[in-house]
């Protein structure tokens, strides 16, 4: 019957060439046996045949059972290693890519902050897709090879490999990381916003600041990172750390106040560009508000560090 031919064809086309003829022959004989039996002497009809085929199940599923290849994309043998590798890669690579592209975006011609962020997010998402795809492909191939996970992934897991339980820290690791990342971003942004550029696009911040103020800013940034490292190593607010923190924040506050009151922070050319007809006063307001925010933040940081050390 034609429908049997179609079924058999659907099954064997999924199988390797060498198996096809044999399986087709056997399957046809079996189906015809089953139909003959169910029809019980009457002429086999379509309804009975279809019932039998349904019993055998979806042809592709049957083909899967006939074939030797793994039914899993990534089976139990490789699944543990796969997830571990995937998680580890996804937590590092997209972040690195996004940060790099953010920096590149800032340094590009005609960049804006929004443009840089969009670039970073796009690159990050692309990285996630790439990492996911290639990792999955490699492990799917490994699943179909005869390789032994133990040999590839190294010696079996040992209890000694377990990381230490993170001690309850007064200075949280996440805080440290966040602070350092923000400081680096601030440095990158500032440098990008003031770098003299050949193509003539206007810098946002006053280029003259490079003489003294920007280098001092970079120094403060470095000091900030150093302070974060010291905080991290000690783990809690000791008197020494509190003192250093207070001093640092005072220096930052003084720096910001003096800078805003004595210097033209924003590039005058940029002000012209942004408000050609107005006085550009709003730019000064923006700078002022930012300065107030920074000083307030510094004071708050100093105060909370004292408070925390008393706890």
């Amino acid at each position: 019957m034609e429908i049997i031919d179609r079924y058999i064809h659907a099954v064997i086309r999924r199988l390797p060439q060498s198996q096809r003829e044999e399986v087709a022959r056997e399957l046809r004989a079996t189906i015809e046996d089953m139909v003959a039996d169910r029809a019980r002497g009457k002429k086999p009809n379509r309804a009975v045949t279809e019932m039998i085929l349904k019993e055998l199940g979806h042809p592709e599923v049957l083909a899967l059972r006939y074939s030797d290849t793994s039914a899993y994309l990534i089976g139990p043998k490789w699944s543990g290693a796969y997830w571990r590798v995937l998680v580890r890669l996804l937590s590092i690579i997209p972040v690195v890519v996004a940060v790099i592209m953010f920096g590149v975006g800032l340094l590009e011609e005609g960049m804006t902050l929004g443009h840089a962020i969009a670039k970073a997010v796009g690159a990050g998402i692309g990285a996630v897709v790439q990492v996911g795809f290639w990792t999955t492909l490699v492990f799917a191939l490994l699943e179909r090879s005869s390789m032994d996970p133990a040999k590839i992934m190294g010696a079996e897991w040992q209890p000694d490999d377990l990381p230490d339980v993170p001690k309850k820290r007064q200075i949280a690791r996440s805080d440290t990381v966040a602070n350092i990342v923000l400081t680096v971003l601030a440095i990158v942004a500032t440098v990008a916003l003031t770098l003299p550029r050949a193509s003539g696009s206007v810098q946002v911040l006053n280029p003259e600041l490079w003489n003294v103020w920007i280098p001092v800013f970079l120094g403060l940034g470095a000091a900030s990172i150093g302070l974060e490292a010291a905080k991290y190593r000690v783990g809690r607010w000791t008197r020494g750390l509190v003192g250093a923190n207070i001093v640092f924040n005072i220096v930052v506050a003084v720096y910001v106040i003096v800078l805003v009151f004595t210097q033209q922070v924003v590039n005058p050319v940029f002000v012209q560009l942004v408000s050609p007809h107005g006085s550009g006063e709003w730019v000064q307001w923006a700078v002022g508000i930012t300065a107030v925010a920074i000083v307030t933040g510094s004071v708050a940081s100093a105060v909370t560090s004292v408070y925390k050390s008393r706890q």
Partner: protein, 119 residues
């Protein structure tokens, strides 16, 4: 507390039976059988095996050297007959012994469990 679903029971019962299919099939194949004939025989022995499971299983067992096969073209309909190979028979006896051991131990545990649990 959520009640145990009937599906959960069905799954565990299936797992219990699934482990015994190979042994059941091998036990029949001291004599030669063809696919559908074996299916019917298993059904008659009240150990029904799904057609879509049985036929690939026979091929796999043959691929592993446990069964041997031969086409019978004498009848109107040619049929492929399977039977335990020589080494397959040894294999079957060994697996049978494995089952006996496991079954005895399990039976002991179940008996004890029933003594203690008063169930």
């Amino acid at each position: 507390m959520i009640p145990i679903s009937e599906e959960t029971y069905a799954n565990h019962a299936l797992e219990l039976r699934r482990g015994t299919i190979v042994l059941a099939v091998l036990s029949m194949l001291k004599e030669p059988y063809y696919g559908y004939g074996l299916l019917q025989a298993l059904e008659a022995a009240d150990v029904p095996v799904d057609a879509g499971t049985l036929y690939p299983l026979l091929r796999r067992l043959e691929g592993q050297g446990i069964l041997s096969s031969a086409w019978d073209t004498s009848e109107a309909r040619p049929r492929k007959f399977y039977q335990l190979s020589t080494q397959g028979y040894v294999f079957y006896k060994r697996l049978h012994g494995e089952w006996d051991k496991t079954q005895k131990k399990l039976q002991t545990m179940l008996n004890k469990g029933e003594e203690n649990g008063n169930n």
